[in-house]
């Protein structure tokens, strides 16, 4: 069943994995930071737009539109909260606050993370980590996690189907609903993980040896531009923090 959209589609602009890591680092730091500085708020908006461009870069138009809409909604919610029209301590207000907080703080990061996962090949990632002299004991498990996301999604969809057929929906009992989904998911993921490691070992994957790499990674114009942008962002961020 080929329902899963997974990995490595052609992007218009391709970045080096290290650039993407840096993007993740900078964008997450800025977005999650809690600063009232206007300058930083502006920077955040700029970064949100940057993430939008990245989504457009992989031609996920529908996703970008949804992303923008949700973000705008949340910003609207934020505005309502700030304006004090809703009591932030009431039950509804609290829920809204949590929701708004989650979206504004997490959504861009989640989207960016999705972009990184979607466009990075496992081998590229390993090669990049190796260039940065990360030990294999850290790189390999991370790489495996990379590989696991699509599997996880695939497995989850199958389980979702099974639930539908048993007529078990989230609505009635949330805890049971989660349990019923997690148990089979864990079981099959453990099994796949086991088989996967066995297969990888027979292909000579070790944590001791260095690997060579087929995918050519390296910094190009787009990476340099990205670095400049990120450096500028960091500069603006620091200026913003200093100004308070």
């Amino acid at each position: 069943m080929n329902r899963l959209e997974s990995g490595n589609e052609e992007a218009l602009i391709n970045f080096d994995p290290r650039t993407k890591l840096m993007l993740l680092l900078v964008v997450n730091t800025v977005i999650i930071s809690d600063s009232k500085s206007l300058l930083i708020s502006g920077l955040k908006i700029a970064l949100v737009i940057l993430v939008l461009f990245l989504l457009i870069d992989v031609k996920k138009i529908k996703m970008s539109v949804t992303y923008v809409l949700i973000y705008l909604l949340a910003t609207g919610g934020d505005y309502i909260l700030i304006s004090g029209r809703i009591n932030g301590m009431s039950a509804g207000g609290l829920t809204l606050r949590i929701l708004v907080y989650l979206v504004v703080r997490m959504l861009p990061s989640v989207m960016l993370a999705w972009f990184v996962l979607h466009t990075t090949k496992v081998s590229e990632f390993i090669a990049a980590m190796q260039r940065m002299h990360f030990p294999q004991t850290i790189t390999i498990p991370f790489a495996t996690i990379f590989r696991f996301f699509p599997t996880l999604a695939d497995e989850y969809l199958s389980i979702q189907d099974a639930m539908k057929m048993r007529n078990i929906r989230f609505g009635t009992d949330v805890v049971a609903g989660i349990e019923y989904r997690m148990v089979p998911l864990l079981v099959s993921v453990t099994k796949i993980g086991d088989e996967l490691s066995a297969a990888a070992m027979t292909r000579g994957l070790t944590t001791e040896n260095k690997r060579t790499s087929y995918s050519e990674i390296g910094f190009h114009l787009q990476d340099i531009i990205c670095f400049i942008l990120m450096a500028a962002s960091v500069a603006i961020f620091v200026i913003g923090l200093l100004r308070g």
Binding site: S123, T151, M165, L196, T202, G204, N209, S213, Y214
Partner: protein, 1084 residues
């Protein structure tokens, strides 16, 4: 050789006891050894023992020893054996470490530290050998089971191990893929690899297996020679728990016809579902009988799963479903149906089997719950497991639990997805019995499977799905099973026959130019750096200007305060100018170098192209590409690298500066950009195509212009002036209108040009607002206005380039068409082999353009040295093509052409051309003296030799009559010599060349009788003692040939002497008579 010496092994924590019990086995090198036996007999453990997963990954107690090539490997862990042993597993889902195929293919090599070049090489050859060109660089998640298994095999073979271990490789494969796997196994065997296969399905191994080993309860029962084994009757095989050995299945027992059961039916109408990638299912009308076991078969990726998902309501689709006359919505379908998945683990999630069944019982029946649970446990043979956790059960038991839950929820249709993959005979049989029980209980089981044995054993009704459509459906009997087997047979044949050629993705023109112009890289980089610096300097005046304005506004009168700003601004301006000119200067130099390189590459390529291809290219077009079009790239190229980079950089710097001053305005200033951009892209849509079209239309106009002026004599003489002029006029108008129209369509482009850089549109009003509200100081406002002005310049410049880039694309495309054209495959230097002069064509096929109808379809011909061979046949029969292939103008697509025993591909082209003189009907004379024109045949010949040849070919007389004798220049194309005279010069040239093989392609076709005699005589001298191949329409000139080859429709119709052919070939006879008749008529 692998020797397993008295090995016992028990998995840690296992309750079943020893998995291997004192096993001793010798696996011979270079053979295919098959391990078979019941599920859980220990054959998988044996494979793991070989690749080291036992005991290094699956831990446990091990005794005994295992030797590979006489060396104990028990101490070597899995990774150390990886280079020697390649392993393919049963489940493609969990054997790929990567998400895309290419990474997976090189994965093993990367781990074993192969160099990149080595990997590239291996990747190339592996792709070819496994024929997986169309699977490269694809997501593994989007491949069918067969494709995945192919990739798995290919990946494992990349590091070229000596031993291949396959553990149930066919359990997820359809018949087509299984056959392909058998081919791969045979290939490995032929390379001398040791192959070990553990599998339940065995019949596909009949051709390739050497030795069969039966394993039972951790012990080896017997080892048999493959021949003896496959002679075993099925009944005996079944007694060992083995699947059928016969290639085709038979219905074992009659199906009890349940006449009494009322025939309810499930109808599917106009089901239509398509995935993004275009695959899907399309079913017009399908009626399935309820209360029967229905089997759904089809190749991997045929759409079976999608069909079932639509049918059980999991997938919403356009289509109507009826049970009898009642229409069901997808939701209602979902209520009626239950899918037992291939991985049952997905469906079991409670603490105990009891609970699992209980939660499935509909709410209404809660009071009788316990009875229902009990009775279901009983039917499904699960009573003793009621209290156990479902996950602790075996695969078969889990499957039974899932069926029980389905029955408990009163589902009427029960789907099974590949229920018997990886099951041995007994378990398959047991499942088949269960199916019947389910059917007898009144539920309709629908089974998707590749397992024909299961179908034969249990199904009542079959549906064959292929490429998303129902190919066939009907009662299951021996006939229908044959039909299905045949279907797969054909599929296999077809899938092997034509694998589509992969399209190479076109690179962006800039990237391609960059690649082509390697030598200019350094300079271009320097110019980019200079340009960036220049742009940075260019910003300084703006910044300074804003400072000055602010000072002015502040009412500052002290001049000394202004001066530093003014000077800084001035310096910035000057720097900008100098750096920019410098950058452009360097990049122009680099560009010319790149162009030179491109031209050189094209010119170097030309000799490698088949002569025929070059002759086909219009010389005008070739010249246009090499000279004019390449030239036209210069401006673009020289500007593109430094300008695009520096403008984008400049834009960014200014913008960041704006951002720091006031981030709100900076963001607002950008609003017109996307708006303008989208307009721009709208009008740019198809720019490349439009440009290509404009080139074509213009060249059409040029052509007819040249035709008109060139042919003016004829036009006047025949008074065709009006008509010819009309064509010319028409083309000129077409040209004009095309551009007019195009420009018109590009109007939006102009809006884009206006809107995109109009940063002021937002900066002014919002800046004013902010200023009014007090959140923006006046001096900052002014600075922002000035800065937003200086953002626009670079932007406009970048946009301009979009236009020129499209042009670049067309030019690069033309150049690339030449650079990537198919080359002739000849060695460049002779190996010194003695090349004979006998010519042998064997099964030669050829088409002028790839994919088009073949001109030659399997021509075999022997032309002995020194003989005269005539090729005759109707026009377009391919006789000329045969001659041109022999002369090496093209390479044959298939088959071989040999000189002596040497294939022409193993002869350097220059030596090949040395061997052959080719005289055709129109011969090109260079714009040079006659002497030199003849000397073309052999540049080392002395003047005397040249004149000698001229005499022999009967040229001497007319040459001496010319104004300057031998030093007369022959004008362009030798215009002022008659056809016969030119022909004789060509023959003289050929004579001087003195090649052992002479080909006359209609050389005497259009020559007047007077000349003919002279030329015939010249030819006679030319071909004396040589191998002669003549193509002739005038059959009378070739009656004396040693052999006449009659070519018709790309094939050889007949070969023989004139008299024989008159007797034997009716075609030749009729041609002869036509010729004689024409001659007589001519005379009369």
């Amino acid at each position: 050789m692998i020797e397993i010496k008295d090995v016992s092994f028990e998995y840690a924590g296992s309750e079943q006891g020893k998995s291997l019990d004192h096993v001793s086995l010798v696996i011979p090198k270079g053979k295919v050894t098959v391990l078979c036996g019941r599920s859980g007999c220990g054959k998988t453990t044996l494979t793991r023992l070989i690749n080291g997963l036992v005991p290094y990954f699956y831990k446990g107690e091990i005794t005994g020893d295992i030797l590979i090539d006489g060396e104990s490997v028990l101490e070597k862990n899995v990774q150390e054996r990886a280079g020697k042993v390649g392993s393919v597993f049963q489940n493609p889902r969990s054997q790929f470490f990567n998400v895309d195929s290419t990474s997976e293919l090189v994965f093993g090599c990367e781990n074993m530290q192969f160099s990149r070049e080595d990997m590239e090489e291996r990747l190339k050859s592996t792709t070819e050998v496994f024929d997986i060109g169309d699977l490269i660089n694809k997501s593994l998640f989007k491949m069918s089971g067969g494709e995945k298994q192919k990739i798995a095999c290919a990946s494992v073979s990349m590091p070229d191990p000596d031993i291949y271990v396959l553990d149930e490789p066919t359990s997820n494969l359809d018949l087509v893929s299984i056959k392909e796997l058998a081919i791969i196994l045979a290939k490995w065997k032929s390379e001398g690899k040791t192959v070990i296969v553990a599998d339940h399905r065995l019949n596909y191994l009949e051709e390739v297996a050497d030795k069969i080993v039966l394993v039972d309860q951790g012990q080896i029962v017997w080892e048999k020679d493959a021949k003896d084994f496959f002679a075993m009757p099925d009944s005996e095989a079944h007694s060992y728990g083995l699947r059928s050995l016969e290639a085709s299945v038979k219905i074992s027992e009659g199906i009890p016809e349940n006449e009494q059961r009322k025939t309810s039916s499930l109808t599917i109408k106009n089901l239509d579902f398509t995935y993004e990638d275009g695959s899907g299912v399309h079913i017009k009308n399908l009626v399935l009988p309820m209360g029967r076991i229905i089997g759904v078969v089809g190749e991997n990726g045929a759409g079976k799963s999608t069909f079932v998902r639509c049918l059980c309501g999991l997938q919403k689709s356009s289509g109507s479903f009826y049970i009898d006359d009642k229409r069901l919505s997808p939701k209602e379908l979902l209520k009626e149906s239950y899918l037992v998945m291939q991985d049952v683990n997905h469906q079991l999630f409670t603490e105990s089997v009891d609970e699992e069944i209980r939660i499935s019982i509909p709410k209404g029946k809660k009071d009788t719950q316990d009875d229902v649970v009990d009775s279901l446990l009983k039917t499904m043979d699960l009573t003793e497991y009621g209290k156990l956790h479902p996950m602790s059960l075996s695969g078969g038991q889990k499957q039974r639990v899932a069926v029980a839950t389905a029955l408990a929820s009163d589902k009427r249709i029960l789907f099974f997805d590949e229920p018997t993959s990886g099951l041995d005979y007994e378990h398959m049989k047991a499942f088949s019995e269960r199916l019947k029980e389910v059917r007898n209980a009144g539920t309709t089981p629908i089974v998707i499977t590749h397992d024909l044995e299961l179908l034969a054993d249990s199904c009542d009704y079959l549906v064959l799905i292929s490429e998303g459509e129902v190919k066939w459906s009907g009662k299951c009997d021996d006939d229908t099973l044959r039909r299905i087997e045949e279907h797969f047979e054909n599929k296999c044949f077809r899938s092997n026959k034509h694998k589509e050629t992969k399209m190479e993705k076109q690179k962006s023109p800039i990237a391609r130019v960059w690649e082509l112009g390697e030598s200019g890289h350094k300079q271009i980089t320097i110019s980019i750096v200079l340009a960036v610096l220049g742009v940075l300097a260019g910003i300084v005046p703006y910044v300074m200007a804003s400072k000055v304005i602010n000072l002015l506004i502040a009412g500052e009168k002290d001049l000394s305060l202004f001066i530093p700003y003014i000077i800084a601004g001035l310096i910035g301006y000057l720097l900008n100018t100098f750096l920019y000119t410098g950058a452009l200067g360097i990049s122009h130099k680099a560009t010319f170098r790149i162009l030179k390189e491109i031209r050189e590459k094209v010119l170097a390529k030309l000799p490698k192209l088949p002569l025929g291809t070059i002759m086909e290219m219009k010389s005008g077009r070739l010249k246009q590409t090499i000279v004019d079009q390449v030239e036209s790239m210069e401006t673009t190229l020289a500007h593109v690298f430094p300008e695009i980079v520096s403008n984008i950089g400049g834009f960014l710097v200014v913008w960041i500066y704006m951002f720091v001053i006031d981030w709100r305005l900076a963001l607002l200033a950008m609003i017109p950009l996307p708006v303008g951009m989208s307009l721009m892209f709208a009008s740019m849509k198809g720019y490349g195509e439009n440009y290509a079209k404009s080139v074509e239309i213009t060249s059409n106009m040029n052509e007819s212009l040249i035709e008109y002026t060139g042919g003016i004599e004829v036009i006047k003489a025949y008074n065709q002036g009006n008509e010819s002029y009309a064509t010319l006029k028409e083309r000129c108008l077409a040209n004009a209108f095309f551009f007019y129209d195009w420009m018109n369509r590009c109007k939006t482009n102009i809006y884009a040009m206006i809107i995109a850089p109009a940063t002021m549109l937002t900066v002014l009003p919002f800046g004013w607002l902010f200023y009014q509200s007090g959140s923006l100081s006046f001096d900052k406002f002014i600075t922002m206005i000035i800065l937003s002005l200086c953002v626009t310049g670079p932007l406009l410049a970048v946009m301009d380039f979009v236009d020129t880039l499209a042009k670049l694309g067309t030019v690069v495309g033309n150049v690339d068409a030449i650079l990537t054209a198919k080359e002739q495959e000849h060695i460049t230097e002779d190996s010194g082999m003695v090349i004979g002069n006998d010519i042998d064509l064997e099964d030669v096929a050829f088409a002028y353009t790839e994919g088009q109808d073949a001109v030659l379809k399997g021509v075999s011909l022997h032309i002995p040295q020194g003989s005269k061979t005539a090729l005759v046949g109707p026009s377009g029969s391919g006789k000329s093509t045969i001659a041109k292939l022999i002369a090496g103008f093209w390479d044959a697509d298939a088959g071989s052409i040999c000189f002596g025993n040497v294939n022409t591909k193993d002869i350097a082209l220059s030596s090949l051309y040395d061997k052959i003189s080719y005289v055709s009907q129109d011969n090109f004379l260079f714009d040079d003296t006659i002497l030199e024109n003849i000397r073309m045949g052999n540049l080392n010949a002395s003047d005397e030799e040249v004149i000698e040849c001229a005499k022999a070919s009967g040229c001497d007389a007319f040459i001496r009559n010319l104004e300057n004798g031998y030093s007369t220049r022959v004008g362009g194309g030798g215009a002022h010599l008659s056809g016969g005279e030119r022909q004789r010069i060509a023959i003289a040239r050929a004579m001087l060349k003195d090649a052992p093989i002479v080909i006359l392609d209609e050389a005497t076709a259009y020559i007047d009788p007077e000349n003919e005699a002279v030329i015939q005589e010249a030819v006679g001298k030319l071909v004396n003692g040589k191998t002669l191949i003549v193509i002739a329409h005038r059959l009378s000139t070739i009656t004396d040939s040693d052999q006449i080859v009659l070519v018709n429709e790309g094939k050889i119709d007949a070969v023989g002497k004139h008299d024989d052919l008159l007797q034997t070939s009716p075609l030749y006879k009729s041609m002869w008579q036509a010729h004689i008749g024409a001659k007589e008529g001519h005379v009369a």
